[in-house]
């Protein structure tokens, strides 16, 4: 990314621009560049490539390490949460496919009982994958649907339960309370914590991504994030600010609309692409 070859403080401007353009935000950018500025003053870098590599290492240090999904219990129950339109329903389809490739038997629960065709959308994915989908009546209580879905999956011997929920703004007290109720309902159905409580974050989000994670995490104990839509030109740098503040694991990234378009989170690759 460097236009200049010499290693002086002008290189910091180029780095700052790259980080801000990637949605890293001011506070994380300042923090990262502080370390680099120190290194430049102490003449630790012999080329701009060394500066870039140092920055990448610093970014990797902030990022959570690659984290596996919790899949030991049977059934393993995962809850998919997030604001409107981030990719929850599509991500569930991708995860279901990924599980099937590992010879697992996912059971899908269409607990978005609010949005037009929310249930139908998940049903189509389930049919395409040959995975069963619990389809309630539109308007029924999502907490009850989550409960019923877990019971049905247990009774029928499925080992994974993926629960879709309606998009909800983190600014809506009522919808956050509804989410808490869905979460408690999964606890009741299992007699323990659900295995994954995942926030699905749109990779094109700016600083609002941090607000979303904060608010959701203050209502339910998130176990991780999945960042979607990183197949466009957005870099998802808000993930750095989220990592710096909350350190939640990033379990996967979405890179397209197809059922195979899901990749594990690779901190090194992510850091490189942020600056690239």
């Amino acid at each position: 990314i460097f236009r200049s070859e010499k290693v002086d403080e002008s290189v910091l401007d180029e780095l700052e621009e790259a980080l801000l353009a990637a949605d890293a935000g001011l506070s994380v950018t300042d923090r990262l560049l502080e370390g680099i500025r120190e290194g430049i003053r102490k003449k630790r870098f012999r080329s701009s490539k060394e500066v870039q590599d140092a920055l990448i290492n610093q970014i990797v240090e902030i990022l959570p390490p690659a984290a596996p999904f919790k899949d030991q219990s049977v059934p393993s129950v995962w809850l998919f949460l997030g604001i409107n339109g981030t990719g929850k329903t599509t991500t569930i389809a991708k995860i279901a496919r990924w599980l099937q490739k590992r010879r697992k038997k996912p059971y899908l629960v269409a607990a978005d009982t609010f949005r037009a065709a929310g249930i139908e959308q998940l049903k189509i994915w389930g049919d395409r994958l040959g995975a069963p989908v619990l389809c309630p009546q539109r308007g029924s209580d999502p907490a009850a649907v989550a409960f019923d879905g877990i019971q049905a999956a247990k009774a029928q011997g499925y080992d994974f339960v993926l629960i879709d929920t309606a998009g909800r703004m983190h600014t809506s007290h009522n919808l956050l309370q509804e989410m808490a109720k869905i979460y408690r309902s999964t606890q009741k159905a299992l007699g323990r914590e659900p295995d994954e409580i995942l926030l699905i974050l749109d990779g094109t989000a700016g600083q609002n991504g941090l607000s979303q994670v904060r608010r959701f995490h203050s209502v339910v104990p998130l176990t991780g994030l999945i960042v979607t839509k990183l197949d466009g030109t957005a870099k998802g740098g808000i993930v750095l600010a989220i990592a710096a503040e909350l350190g939640l694991p990033i379990k996967a990234v979405g890179v397209g609309e197809g059922v195979d378009d899901l990749e594990p989170f690779d901190p090194q690759a992510f850091a490189r692409s942020l600056l690239g």
Binding site: L26, N84, G87, Q207, N208, T233
Partner: protein
């Protein structure tokens, strides 16, 4: 937000009148930070800060009894100017039907907004027809069909996988049945996906719409500039609809989009219900961006 910092700064310099270069530089740096935190794109921030910095060297500011307050006012006015200054009306065809095309990134709110527009204009005496031109996303046309039913407006059932056939038949139907507002919902797409952008260009050629509206998620960050430039240069926009303003996003993306395309924002989406649509007010948006 910026207004808190500004009043804090003003408090410090009360009674001083003139501003020093250092005070001005600090203030400009604060402005830049506030705009970046609001998701205004880097290039637009840079432009604004340099613009305001220039105005600071004029007598209007230098000889003002409260120069930083005057600068804050100038900043606010400049934002309002970029955002379009006044409410921007929609375009109606000289003879019906009027055709509006909605486009944008995946999940930005196009399908829901199509329903909101239909609901809004049905109340104003129009006869909307909702046309599902997203033939790809699972249950997309079913989603629009359910919305049309909820709002009580006509829905054009897609009978084929061929977009050009669909468009021709929908427009002919509108003529025959007397629907005077045809709202076309398209599939979400990445502006970097050349094949899908070509498909959208083709769709627009077939429809010859009176409005080509970018549906933009208010939570979008720095990507807003890239996507706006791409949609406008590749497809051509007549306006923007900014959705999800019920979030706590400051919405700086909209400033970047209007700055870079020069196209006005016509509506805002303020919730997931079909009545959650309003006209866009530049002054309110400027205040929101400045925090």
């Amino acid at each position: 937000g910026l207004t808190d910092r500004l009043s804090e700064l003003l408090g410090r310099f009360r009674g001083k009148g003139r501003i020093s270069q250092e005070e001005l530089d600090n203030w400009l740096r604060d402005v830049r930070r506030a705009l970046l935190e609001a998701d205004v794109s880097l290039s637009v921030c840079r432009h604004l800060v340099s613009q305001i910095g220039e105005r600071a060297r004029t007598p209007d500011v230098l000889e003002h009894p409260a120069p930083l307050r005057r600068l804050s006012q100038i900043l606010y006015e400049e934002l309002v100017r970029i955002l379009g200054e006044k409410v921007s009306p929609v375009t109606w065809a000289p003879r019906p039907p009027t055709i509006w095309l909605l486009m944008g990134l995946q999940g930005s709110g196009k399908t829901t907004t199509a329903g909101k527009l239909a609901s809004l204009y049905k109340k104003q005496g129009r006869k909307p027809l909702l046309v599902p031109a997203d033939l790809k996303r699972p249950a997309a046309s079913e989603q629009l069909r359910q919305i049309a039913e909820q709002v009580g407006v006509a829905f054009f059932p897609p009978d084929s996988q061929d977009l050009s056939r669909l468009c021709q038949r929908a427009l002919r139907d509108a003529q025959d049945q007397g629907w005077d507002l045809v709202i076309v919902d398209s599939a979400g797409r990445m502006h970097s996906d050349e094949a899908l952008m070509e498909e959208l260009a083709q769709l627009k050629r077939l429809l010859q719409p009176h409005e080509s509206l970018l549906v933009l998620d208010a939570t979008t960050g720095q990507d807003a500039v890239r996507l706006a430039e791409s949609f406008d240069s590749r497809i051509g926009l007549t306006g923007v609809i900014l959705t999800k303003l019920d979030s706590d996003a400051r919405g700086g993306a909209v400033l970047s989009v209007t700055f870079v395309t020069g196209k006005p924002v016509k509506f805002i989406g303020t919730g997931e219900h079909l009545q959650d649509i309003d006209l866009f007010h530049p002054d309110r948006m400027a205040a929101r961006i400045l925090g």
